[in-house]
């Protein structure tokens, strides 16, 4: 089999998913695509089972908060094709008010705790997750601490503010 290339993956995915796939670039050779939340399960199953792609290994699930964007949250999946050693990163941007995305625990069981961790820190609801509750923080916590609106330090502290350095 020929070595899988990013270009091949891009062509294959755009052929299959058309408008719903957006290519975000290839930072440091890692192909990054984004899709819409309603098709994420379909995309991941396709990436896993399609004979020419076979991204069989789920490396990581996490989320990022972009408070200034229209769609505030990005859920980031890292997949790995262990047969040909190529990785792909998939981003799904979600609305800020009630970020919801369907779970992938039915595709990889290992997604269970990764999604729980993401829920714990960002409050992303993974629909259909068998056991979606906090994992690292205490159950009584009523915020999602990794969101950018929760500062780490005293917000009144000015000696480290960026404007002192011309930014």
């Amino acid at each position: 089999m020929d070595k899988l290339t990013n270009q091949f993956i891009v062509d294959n995915l755009t052929g299959k998913f058309g408008q719903d796939i957006e290519i975000l670039g290839e930072p440091y050779d890692l192909l990054t695509v984004s899709t819409i939340s309603s098709r994420i399960t379909e995309l991941l199953i396709y990436l896993k089972d399609e004979e020419s792609l076979r991204f069989n290994y789920l490396t990581d699930i996490t989320a990022v908060h972009y408070p200034k964007q229209d769609k505030e949250f990005a859920v980031v999946y890292h997949l790995h094709n262990l047969f040909q050693n190529i990785r792909i990163r998939i981003k799904v941007f979600l609305d800020g008010s009630n970020p919801t995305i369907s779970t992938v625990t039915n595709i990889w069981k290992g997604a269970n705790w990764m999604e729980r961790e993401t829920y714990d820190f960002y409050g992303i609801n993974f629909e259909g997750h068998p056991d979606l509750r906090r994992i690292l923080n205490m159950d009584e916590l009523d915020v999602f601490p990794m969101r950018k609106e929760h500062p780490l330090e005293d917000p009144n502290r000015v000696d480290k503010k960026d404007f002192y350095f011309g930014r």
Binding site: Y28, H78, G110, D131, L152
Partner: protein, 411 residues
């Protein structure tokens, strides 16, 4: 078979479920139980000695590293990575340095790469010593643990020569090392290569053909490759199932592609195979260190960091006497770096598996987002499901052979 009866309800105190008249007993293992080797809890329901179901509770030493990292410049994040897998902190440190170097596009001299390889392989040996030694202790063989623990102590002495610290090493800097290996360090590494193989041989002879050990471990907690990949396992426990996935080989970093070593794999994925894989990996690590020392001897001496003054702190006397060094020093300390806006995922083969750093950088002084892909966290989630139906004593062995390090589990 009917589905297991379970009455553990998440978020409710366990004693509410624990009816003494019931045929099932709810048992707390942890948070601070000697058998867990770390601060995490398992609530199991047992029928006699057999586990019916279990729930893992983790997060007892969660320290919000990802949040802290969003508020710290790159070089101040290294001490945080120390405290992930504290049994092999140099791997975490250097993995983090390499992530930043990948982001900044820093080219590392060969000699520094070989030095890093030495330190990382020493750390791998130190980690595997703990895991296999403790596994011996859990099966009732205490003496082997003491033999090898002395050698771990010696590895810590080597760390001390290299960076001054023993456990949380904060080793290296972005761009290289903070200082060259001194003569004593090289002597000690040579001495370690001399003295460790016989000790390891002795250690392994206590276990490998030991009937008690085999009966306690062989066939216990066997995992198929499909299951292991489904649960995103990585590291020695994945290789014990027969999958030859090693980040050092598939995506080489630090010039690992130049080294001649083998990736040991098991067949059954049981506790015995995991022990054997770790044991064999220690020999491979020794081979790698030997080769790295020989390679260093051929490189120009005295090179211990890349020539990147804008990212690597200048020596202190330069700062006091040299204008440019002072400027660079100021810019680095105040975070005035010219850094690209990008995102990078870099993985190294930690002692427990694929240790990944996912760094999103917006050009500011701190990472916009830093996520640690921690192998212990990902590996451990299979523990509770796979314990169902196991004997309690086997589950303890299973736990210790997963080598879950609480610091890495909780981050």
């Amino acid at each position: 078979m009917s589905s297991p009866i379970t009455k553990i309800t998440p978020n409710r105190p366990v004693f509410e479920d624990n009816d003494p008249q019931d045929e099932l007993i709810t048992l707390n293992i942890g948070p601070t139980h000697p058998a867990t080797h770390g601060v995490f809890q398992n609530v199991v329901q047992i029928d006699g000695e057999r586990i019916v179901s279990g729930v893992s509770t983790i997060g007892y030493i969660h320290r919000a590293f990802e949040k802290i990292a969003e508020h710290r410049p790159f070089y101040q994040i290294t001490p945080l990575t120390d405290r992930l897998n504290y049994c092999s902190s140099p791997i975490n440190n250097i993995g983090w340095h390499m992530t930043v170097e990948k982001l900044l596009g820093i080219e590392i001299p060969k000699r520094v790469q070989y030095m890093r390889v030495i330190v990382m392989e020493l750390a791998r040996i130190a980690d595997h010593i703990i895991c296999n030694g403790i596994l011996g202790v859990d099966t009732g063989a205490f003496s082997g643990f003491l033999y090898v623990m002395q050698e771990r102590e010696f590895i810590y002495e080597i760390y001390e020569e290299i960076c001054g610290a023993r456990l949380t090493t904060n080793i290296g800097r972005i761009g290289g090392f903070e200082r060259d290996f001194n003569e004593v360090a090289f002597q000690k590494i040579e001495e370690f290569l001399e003295r460790y193989p016989p000790v390891l041989k002795e250690f392994e002879e206590l276990f490998v053909r030991n009937r008690i050990f085999i009966e306690r471990t062989a066939g216990v907690a066997g995992v198929t490759p499909e299951e292991a990949l489904d649960y995103s396992w990585s590291g020695p426990i994945l290789r014990a199932t027969g999958v030859d996935y090693d980040v050092r080989v598939v995506s080489p970093y630090c010039s690992y592609e130049e080294f001649d070593f083998e990736v040991p794999v098991g067949t059954n994925g049981d506790v015995y195979d995991r022990f054997m894989v770790r044991n064999a990996e220690m020999y491979e690590s020794l081979k790698i260190i030997r080769q790295a020392l020989d390679k260093i001897a051929k490189e120009p001496a005295g090179v211990f960091h890349a020539d990147v003054p804008e990212f690597y702190l200048p020596p202190k006397e330069q700062v006091y006497n040299n204008m440019e060094a002072l400027i660079y020093h100021f810019k680095i300390v105040m975070g005035e770096w010219e850094t690209p806006q990008s995102e990078v995922y870099h993985a190294v083969e930690g002692a427990n598996g694929e240790l990944g750093f996912y760094l999103i950088h917006d050009g500011g002084r701190t990472p916009y987002r830093l996520h640690f892909r921690r192998p212990s966290f990902v590996n451990y989630q299979m523990f509770a499901p796979m314990s169902a139906g196991m004997l309690l004593s086997d589950a303890i062995l299973n736990m210790s052979s997963l080598n879950v390090i609480a610091g890495e589990l909780d981050a």
